[in-house]
């Protein structure tokens, strides 16, 4: 059969589910990476706004290093570079790299949202005799987290897409699966399009979820003052 386009997209539906396990891998790397990133990010953000030079300097250095170098390099440093000390298998390497990488960006998101809270909030809490760490936890952070949701959602989408770099260290995630299926069936374009559809599905669900969360928070307390 002579085709106008050189690809056979009809295989897409039948091959689609063969990527399920790979998608699950992608989801796992991303979720775990984000969790690590959230923890690191919160710690780094709190350190960054500390009055103590050394503490805030340390956080600043971490952010500087991570934001100034490519994620792929960071991944290679953990997977290949560390081998002289310890060999980390592909999957945990990917999670660590994604987590440490996102931690730096999430730190900046948290720092921004914490600093966007009116200083009067801290003063009001302190005027009640509340110690600073408790005021941070009870008064500032709950408000800051809400403001952080939209940029965090954005960062999560970036993380999801960045997880594809794990294909370079043989984590059987979506992109690697796409390449393997492509070379075994000689239908590269078709397989890569399936990969694209999977990514789009996941990013769309994520976008929708963040959107819903934002909306629900806005209704729940109409925070303005």
């Amino acid at each position: 059969m002579d085709r106008i386009i050189p690809w056979d997209f009809s295989v897409i539906p039948e091959k689609f589910m063969l990527f399920r396990d790979a998608a699950l891998y992608t989801l796992q790397i991303t979720t775990m990476g984000i969790l690590v990133g959230l923890v690191l990010g919160l710690i780094a953000a709190l350190m960054k706004i500390s009055n103590q030079r050394v503490v805030s300097g340390l956080a600043g250095f971490y952010i500087f290093i991570i934001r100034g170098t490519p994620l792929l390099l960071q991944l290679f440093i953990i997977y290949y570079g560390m081998t002289t000390i310890v060999t980390i298998p592909p999957f945990p390497s990917a999670v660590i790299a994604l987590g440490v990488h996102n931690g730096a960006y999430i730190a900046e998101i948290f720092r921004g949202s914490i600093q966007s809270i009116d200083y009067g909030q801290m003063e009001a809490a302190r005027s009640l005799g509340m110690p600073k760490p408790r005021a941070m936890r009870r008064i500032i952070l709950p408000q800051a987290f809400k403001r952080a949701v939209p940029p965090l959602g954005n960062q999560f989408i970036i993380a999801l897409k960045d997880s594809s770099l794990a294909s370079t260290i043989a984590v059987p995630e979506l992109l690697l699966r796409g390449r393997q299926m492509g070379s075994s069936t000689f239908m590269y374009m078709e397989m890569l399009i399936i990969v694209a559809i999977w990514y789009l599905l996941m990013t769309s669900v994520l976008t929708y979820g963040v959107h819903r969360l934002e909306k629900r928070m806005r209704v729940s307390d109409r925070v303005h003052t």
């Binding site: 005799g129 408790r134 709950p142 925070v223 003052t225």
Partner: protein, 256 residues
């Protein structure tokens, strides 16, 4: 007035600079227990700074402040203890927007004083009734008018059962028609014997409720006296000028 006849707050030779700007100059001020002191003065004269130094939201470089005979030193722990005894009400309310009205009021008792929740709740309900907002317990601050917000803020400060209340222009962010309801709560407090230091431009509050009016100018206390003395026969030229500017618009009664 106090049993030991010592002032509740004693400020001695207080000096504060912001960089090169000398904002408080040799301030001496005693506040007796159950006394209502009103601080007036032009914008930038240092009224807020003085008030904020009293509960250490600002730190003065020179001079001393004693509370109930004890110096407020600079250790965080000690300051936190003193702050529990000094309620502060801000110009912009600073209510916690993520907490309901009653949550705002219970926050200090529960999370600073570790009062059991049900007890704090009772106290909060009592205080809300007192400021005339008994029906607003579960509302969020963003749903309240400015006057209501400020009354919640007063209740929040009172919930710590402080020995003195500090007010920094509590009505100047309010629409004129909402000023009265806040001032009325403050007058009631004064009548009940609460010690208060109030920075305000509401001269009728000073006239009605103050025992003493203090006039500040460029970081110094230029003159002080009873409201009668200050308003009818101020001695200092600058006090006279300031009062002349501020009093005429006070002639018209502001309704509560």
């Amino acid at each position: 007035m106090s049993i030991h006849d010592q002032p509740l707050i004693r400020i001695k030779r207080l000096n504060k600079w912001y960089g090169d700007l000398h904002v408080l100059r040799d301030i001496d001020l005693d506040v007796q227990e159950q006394e209502v002191v009103v601080i007036i003065g032009a914008s930038g004269s240092g009224k807020s700074t003085l008030l904020r130094c009293i509960n250490h939201l600002e730190r003065a470089q020179k001079g001393t402040i004693t509370f109930d005979g004890k110096p407020i030193r600079t250790s965080e722990k000690v300051i936190n203890r003193f702050r529990q005894e000094m309620g502060m009400v801000f110009q912009h309310f600073n209510l916690f927007p993520h907490m309901s009205v009653i949550g705002n009021i219970m926050e200090g008792p529960v999370h600073v004083k570790h009062m059991p929740k049900h007890e704090a709740r009772e106290l909060a309900i009592h205080l809300l009734d007192k400021v005339g907002l008994g029906d607003k317990t579960d509302t969020y601050p963003s749903m309240l008018s400015g006057g209501q917000k400020q009354r919640v803020a007063i209740a929040r400060a009172l919930a710590m059962e402080p020995r003195v209340m500090l007010f920094d222009e509590p009505t100047s962010a309010l629409d004129p028609e909402l000023v009265g309801e806040v001032i009325k709560v403050m007058e009631d407090l004064g009548r009940e014997g609460m010690t208060m230091v109030v920075v305000t431009h509401e001269m009728w509050f000073a006239r009605e409720a103050a025992h003493r009016v203090v006039y500040m100018d460029e970081g110094s206390i230029l003159e002080e006296g009873t409201p009668e003395q200050m308003f009818s026969s101020p001695e200092n030229e600058r006090t006279k000028t300031f009062l002349r500017q501020i009093l005429p618009q006070e002639e018209a009664p502001v309704g509560a």
